[in-house]
Amino acid sequence: MKHRLIPSLVLGAVLAAGLTGLAQAGDTTPAQQLARWSAEAGAPGNATRGQNFFNSRHGGEWSCASCHGQPPTAEGKHANTGKAIAPLAPAFNAKAFTDTAKVDKWFRRNCKDVLARECSAAEKADVLAYLNHLK
């Protein structure tokens, strides 16, 4: 019996480790994302500018805050469907901005909803500076 139990324990541990790895994704950090967009923009992100950008409607129907809240430190709500959205500020959500592919995808998708275009590197740097300073 023992010799059959041990391999399954090992398998279980390996699976658990694998799942934990998946859940955290973790190929980047909010600080690295701020550095990345600042470098691309050629200037450091600015939290005050980021806050203005985040709360403005840019001529359209929604601001970033329409879904993520103002400030985005608690659970948000999709402005159209009411679907719950995890807090965006990294101090309130350990998973926020820890997966490069997700950061790119959601900036692309959500900037199109708010601004009807993709955001510039400078705008992303400002938003990251704002979100990272919320505690």
Binding site: A79, N80, T81, G82, K83, R109, D113
Partner: protein, 169 residues
């Protein structure tokens, strides 16, 4: 109980679980295995609608037009579209009332949906706690798991006294 008995019992239990899920609410419950991509890409913005709520043709059109997805650009890479799309095709609705392709491929415009919700006043859909008929979870607390039976209902915040009375009719 030795191991082989135990595993047989577990297999049997799992088997019954499958049958139970398939029979629940005319087969419109969520399939057991939901691709993580469906949860990540679709259910981030709206209810994880059970694929059985629309016919295959409707899902096909939706997946082919993600860049114009009900007012938003929800486009995905080709591999993810293929993965989610084939899962939707496999589990699309075949039950006779879902065979109909609703206007704009909206679940909420299906005849069965309209009939099921015809006691609800227009003002209720517009409550801040509801926002839209697409927000199933405003009342159906098990919506993301595909549970839409009356046992998992809750009243949305902001109903008037009259509307709260009507709830029990």
């Amino acid at each position: 109980m030795n191991l082989s008995h135990l595993s047989r019992a577990l297999l049997l239990a799992a088997g019954f679980g499958t049958v139970g899920a398939a029979l629940a609410d005319s087969g419109r419950a969520m399939p057991r295995a939901v691709p993580p991509a469906y949860t990540a890409e679709c259910a981030s913005c709206h209810t994880a609608y059970p694929p059985g709520m629309l016919p295959a043709r409707s899902w096909q059109r939706i997946m082919a037009g993600l860049d114009r997805h009900y007012g938003t650009d929800a486009s995905l890479d080709a591999a993810t579209v293929q993965q989610i799309g084939s899962w939707l095709q496999t589990h699309a609705g075949t039950y006779k009332r879902v065979a109909e392709e609703p206007p704009q491929d909206r679940i909420t415009r299906s005849a069965w949906f309209v009939r099921k919700h015809d006691d609800i006043e227009p003002a209720v859909w517009k409550l801040p706690s509801v926002k839209s008929a697409a927000n199933c979870a405003a009342c159906h607390t098990g919506a993301d798991q595909g549970r839409f039976d009356d046992d998992h209902l809750r009243m949305p915040a902001g109903l008037s006294l009259r509307q709260r009375w009507a709830w029990f009719d």
